[in-house]
Amino acid sequence: MSMPEAKVDERQLTMAEAVREALAQEMRRDPRVFILGEDVAEAGTPFKVLSGLVKEFGPDRVIDTPISEAGFTGIGVGAAMTGMRPVVDIMFGDFLFLALDQIANQAAKVHYMSGGKLNVPLVIRTTLGATRRSAAQHSQSLHALVSHIPGLKVALPATPYDAKGLMKTAIRDDNPVVIFEDKLSYTIKGGVPEDDYTIPFGQADVKRLGEDITLVATSSMVYVALAAADLLATRGISAEVIDPRTTVPLDVETLVGSAIKTGRVIVIDEGYQSYGVTAEIASVITEGAFYHLDAPVKRMGAMDVPVPFSPALEDLTVPTADRVAELAINLCRKRS
């Protein structure tokens, strides 16, 4: 699988290490930044993403909370409104539902409702992704939910490089930002400069250049799309893989530009397909590139079922490289 920004001579970090480095650097840079969540301190989260941070920054800046998602998210909102820059950790994306009033009714609306007087520079770090055999309440990819709410920004890093750069941008943003990290990607390695760098929101990244079809993929699905592109290459089809990196703001220009170039698009995302991120992106591309398209823009999201436990069933619910490649081949066959 090809990772354009992972140069051989570059330092390699896992995604978890990249996230941790971003947080540590930002906490050193800005004393207002602190972390709040369940088992974030000594435990460093169940995914060990935050391991060691409490040692450097102490329990007043890496704060373990009770199991009270609504409470500590709301506390993050209040702290953000009064001069701090909290990073709230919601262990599993599924638990966002417990904190939605704080996120959608409070954090997202405070700036607008106050006529621009109050800011909420809050980061909510959470996770997405199925196929960990964690069943229906620990496997959802719920970024569409927050992408729907005006006032929130939503970032979805797929690579260690992006994870570090997007996290830094999120922390420095004066708006509430929800960052989703794919649980299965934490161990993926990639090139990450030690230096300070940020990645602007609303700037898609072309993960692979191609000519015949565009695969728009988010988060975990970037790897599925890259693997599909490898398969397609063996069949003589050149696929371009584009990762929007943020769903809000969305880099419409890059997505439409690629669609105009290739004329065929599949949008791949691990959220439930219906009323989801794939629908929005497909619609935006169709509106912007309609007269250049050779086929309808296709969507591949997660099946519209609660994520099942049994591996035999769970693996059927998310897009795979084989299924993406199959659909791409079908679309390209209809070449006019």
Binding site: I75, Q102, N105, Q106, K117, K153
Partner: protein, 322 residues
């Protein structure tokens, strides 16, 4: 007897009167169809907001509720900008984007009224965490009605505030009614037992006696400033009017006799006025003068708002993001 001196008593009376006349004007704006939407009047509860906010500094924080005009005014908001906000005008506190239930005034530490019952508990508690982290001696006050006692987030935050010794005071305004339902139908056990379960000190005040509220608030603010953690103040009070300005037929949930009793015998302005007169602090002439002054201020503020322009249509999509 009270430790509140006469001058302060008169200032509190003026602050309550300002809220009372403001709210009466709001009702007038509603019934004369000059105000879009609805408003939840604070009439009858003035003693709580004024008593508590009189114990606060400008740099202390408050969060407020859907019935929030009283809190905003007591924390120092201007009536003209309040009216302008209620009428959706650009000169309003939120440039017309918030309205009656979302007035925020960061210069006076008002982090905003909130239209979700219990919705601001997290914000107030988070402000208290921020105070602790920044190492100042500010305090945060979270106003909420007894209806919020049904919201889980209140208990999540009280638990955390107690664990972390945060300088937050939870002020429960028990006006007896969760919207159209008596609180005894919705609230099990003793209210005092709820903060007690988290080890949070509890105090009760007569919300119709502003000086009693002030005394309690002053003591609790002192504790919070000294780093001794959160507290819970319950003020017994009464909403003279309906849940909102349109709630005029209330016979199905409370009696006219009950309303008359609270309006005549338990009115916070009457109670304070009588006390100040009997203590020789003020006489009828002083009250008349004060009322004249406040009435003019209210009328001018309302007129300003009526004449003020609406926001430009270009404003609809600004301030979504900072």
């Amino acid at each position: 007897m009270t430790s509140v001196d006469g001058g302060r008593g008169l200032a509190m009376y003026g602050a309550m009167l300002r809220i009372r006349l403001f709210e009466e004007q709001v009702n007038e704006l509603y019934t004369s169809a000059k105000m879009p939407g609805l408003a939840h009047l604070y009439i009858g509860e003035e003693g709580v907001a004024v008593g508590v906010c009189s114990a606060l500094r400008d740099d202390d924080y408050i969060t407020s509720t859907h019935r929030g005009h009283g809190h905003c005014l007591a924390k120092g908001a201007r009536v003209d900008m309040m009216f302008a906000e209620l009428l959706g005008k650009e000169a309003g506190y939120c440039r017309g984007k918030g309205g009656s239930m979302h007035i925020a005034d960061q210069e006076k530490g008002n982090l905003g009224a909130n239209a979700i019952v219990g919705g601001s508990v997290g914000i107030a508690t988070g402000a208290a965490l921020s105070i602790k982290q920044r190492g100042t001696d500010q305090v945060a006050v979270c106003f909420f009605g007894e209806g919020a006692l049904g919201q889980g987030v209140l208990y999540e935050c009280m638990n955390i505030a107690s664990l972390w010794k945060l300088p937050v005071i939870y002020v429960c305004e028990n006006n007896l009614y969760n919207e159209y339902t008596h609180y005894l139908e919705t609230t099990a056990g003793e209210i005092a037992a709820r903060p007690a379960a988290f080890g949070i000190p509890f105090r009760e005040a007569d919300g119709q006696d502003v000086r009693d509220v002030f005394k309690s608030a002053e003591a609790l603010v002192k504790e919070a400033r000294a780093g001794r953690g959160p507290s819970f103040l319950m003020c017994r009070t009464y909403r003279h009017r309906g849940h909102h300005v349109g709630d005029v037929d209330r016979s199905y949930y409370r009696s006219k006799d009950e309303e008359r009793l609270w309006a005549n015998d338990r009115d916070p302005l009457k109670i304070l006025a009588q006390a100040l007169i009997s203590e020789g602090v003020a006489d009828a002439v002083a009250f008349d003068r004060l009322e004249e002054e406040v009435r003019t201020q209210i009328q001018d503020g309302a007129q300003f708002a009526i004449e003020a322009p609406y926001p430009d249509s270009s404003e609809v999509a600004t301030d979504v993001y900072a």
